[in-house]
């Protein structure tokens, strides 16, 4: 699973962040971040399409705000997990953490993948919704 999420988050090489990506891979950090992304995206979109499913929240911009909140959650989760785990790692090695902007860059990548994934889930599940079956289109 770590292989799969590594390939996704590294964009098959396009988004590789050098040693930072190696550290995430070697410490199996792609798996929890990937599982959180998949689980929260499915839960979040099911809530939107089947639990809320409300006339007042059925416009495309409601859907967009809902997904952006999901992206923000995954941004925060990935940022927290990577900084916590890598800080823990480098502290045990008695070294300073050699990364700074990489945490934010990686979290942005996770947020973008969250958007893409949530969008695909929307397409798959929207048809059975009452008010949101044509949201976002």
């Amino acid at each position: 699973m770590n292989e799969l999420f590594a390939a996704i988050f590294e964009g098959w090489g396009w988004f590789r962040l050098g040693d930072f990506s190696n550290d995430l891979y070697n410490n199996l950090l792609y798996t929890p971040i990937g599982i959180i992304m998949v689980a929260t995206s499915i839960t979040w979109m099911v809530i939107y399409y089947y639990v809320i499913d409300h006339p007042r929240f059925s416009r495309p911009w409601h859907w967009l705000i809902w997904i952006l909140i999901l992206c923000a959650i995954n941004f925060a989760a990935s940022n927290y997990i990577t900084s916590w785990k890598l800080t823990e790692l480098y502290t045990s090695l008695e070294k300073d953490v050699p990364y700074y902007s990489e945490f934010t860059t990686f979290s942005i990548v996770v947020a973008v993948w969250t958007y893409v994934f949530a969008f695909m889930i929307s397409l798959l599940i929207k048809r059975k919704s009452v008010m949101c079956k044509r949201t976002p289109f």
């Binding site: 499913d53 409300h54 006339p55 007042r56 059925s58 009452v130 008010m131 079956k133 044509r134």
Partner: protein, 479 residues
């Protein structure tokens, strides 16, 4: 499809037909009868008549468009309404533009006949201009309206009549046109000219009628020939006549009576465009008599040799003698006939009036059949439906302000209390219900949209709202 010919005589007849049309628009069933309204009123400019004709024409346009390709599944505007003459009117020859004395050729009569005429008609009667009807004088009406059988429209009706069709006659008993026209019309139907191929069918036709007793007055006006003080005496005389010549000889299969204390006086207009009385509950209840007649079994309306075997006599009553009537004050059959249908149409009206413009991007309007601004600009919606809905609102408003008042709906219902629209009925609220007020309607419309099979916009629109409002009144009010 069998036809139910409804003769509305005089201003009251027109107003009852208007109420019936509103019930039909709302979806009150007529047991698959095609309704053929025929208005008999020599007062060609009568405000009540012109308004009723406009409503009937709008109804026809909507019904015909919705049922153009196949029979619509919408309960709204389901019953077909057709006409035997333009403007739904039965023209009586020579009943316009002349004084009564000229009509009977008074000046050419011998002195002895003039003396006889003077015993039957006052000078005012003889000088009466018939342009605006008979001004509450049934003695004039009985002469003029005796020409039914010579009317082209009557011949057309008689020729069109088939076995299985029924006839219903609406008339007031306290005016001029209705009181005189009813027994004459009945006589002409029962004794139709034997040259007509349908005379035997007409003789055996099931006929119902409603005789409307006084329920309103008019202000005293020395210049007017209409005086409410004569209403009761005219009614008594007419009832006495009917006792011998209508009900007494079993000419009718079903005779309905309705009336009320005179609670309100209208402005005293002899006729023409000024005679445009507010709608009244009595007229709605009279329309329910027609619905009742349509649902009466054939076995209960049998004739032998032109006479009813077991004539039915019915009176109308409400449960509570109250100044303001709501659905809860009506008898169970009245409630069954119209409570659900009118409530559905009221929700339909309110949604169109207050909410539709902001909902065109919701799923119910963006499915396989698009309901967009272009649709709202087409005549079906923008002309016919909006006009019908305006008349529906006026009709409810007038009945509410009349005495006695019929106020089944809260006409001041707002955006945040939509389901408080039915007076005296508390709406149910589900714990996990999605949407409230108009949002709830949006939700139910969107839920029902995939179930609608109609492909044409007009039919789809009415079917969807018919289904959604049906679900809503069941969910909210258990109707």
């Amino acid at each position: 499809m069998a036809k139910l010919y409804i003769f509305g005589i005089g201003g009251t007849g027109s107003r009852v037909i208007k109420s019936l049309t509103m019930l039909l628009a709302a979806g009150v069933a007529m047991k698959d009868y095609e309704v053929v309204p025929i208005i008999i009123d020599p007062d060609s400019a009568n405000g009540d008549v012109t308004r009723t004709v406009e409503i009937l024409k709008n109804y026809q346009q909507i019904h015909d468009r919705v049922n153009a390709d196949k029979a619509s599944e919408s309960s709204f505007y389901k019953t077909a309404i057709s006409n035997i003459s333009q403007n739904f009117r039965l023209e009586i020859k020579g009943s316009h533009n002349e004084e009564f004395r000229d009509y009977i050729g008074y000046s050419e009569l011998s002195d002895s006949n003039k003396a006889l005429i003077s015993m039957l008609f006052s000078k005012d009667n003889l000088r009466a201009d018939m342009e605006v009807g008979f001004k509450g004088n049934p003695n004039i009406g009985s002469v003029v309206l005796n020409q039914f059988s010579e009317s082209e429209d009557f011949v057309k009706f008689a020729s069109d009549f088939s076995a299985g069709d029924r006839i219903f006659i609406i008339s007031s008993i306290f005016g001029g046109t209705g009181a005189a026209g009813f027994p004459l019309l009945l006589k002409n139907i029962k004794n139709a000219d034997h040259k007509l191929p349908t005379w035997a069918i007409l003789k055996e036709a099931p006929i119902g009628a409603i005789s409307i007793l006084p329920y309103f007055g008019v202000w005293p006006d020395p210049k007017s020939k209409i005086d409410k003080a004569t209403f009761i005496s005219k009614t008594t005389a007419a009832l006495s006549y009917y006792n011998s010549n209508v009900s007494g000889n079993n000419s009718l299969n079903a005779l309905y009576y309705i009336g009320d204390e005179v609670n309100k006086d209208y402005e005293n207009h002899e006729g023409s465009t000024y005679q445009k009385n507010d709608a009244h509950f009595i007229e709605l209840a009279a329309a329910l008599a027609i619905v009742d007649f349509a649902h009466t079994e054939d076995a209960d309306l049998k004739n032998v040799d032109g006479r009813a075997v077991a004539p039915l006599y019915k009176e109308y009553g409400v449960i509570s003698d109250t100044e303001t009537i709501t659905f809860g004050d009506l008898g169970i059959r009245s409630q069954q006939h119209m409570q659900k249908a009118l409530s559905q149409y009221m929700l339909f009206y309110l949604y169109l009036e207050n909410h539709i413009q902001s909902s065109l991007d919701l799923p119910w309007a963006t499915g396989s059949v698009k309901i967009d601004r272009a649709f709202l600009a087409q005549p079906f919606y923008n002309t016919y439906l909006r006009s019908m809905n305006k008349h529906f609102w006026d009709w409810l408003t007038e009945m509410k302000r009349n005495k006695r008042s019929f106020a089944p709906f809260n006409l001041k219902v707002g955006y945040n209390n939509l389901f408080e629209v039915i007076e005296g009925v508390k709406a149910k609220k589900g714990l996990f219900e999605r949407g409230s007020n108009y949002s709830r309607m949006d939700y139910v419309l969107s839920k029902d949209e995939p179930k609608i099979k109609a492909l044409k916009q007009d039919a789809f629109f009415l079917e969807l709202f018919s289904k959604a409002t049906e679900d809503l009144v069941k969910e909210k009010f258990n109707f």
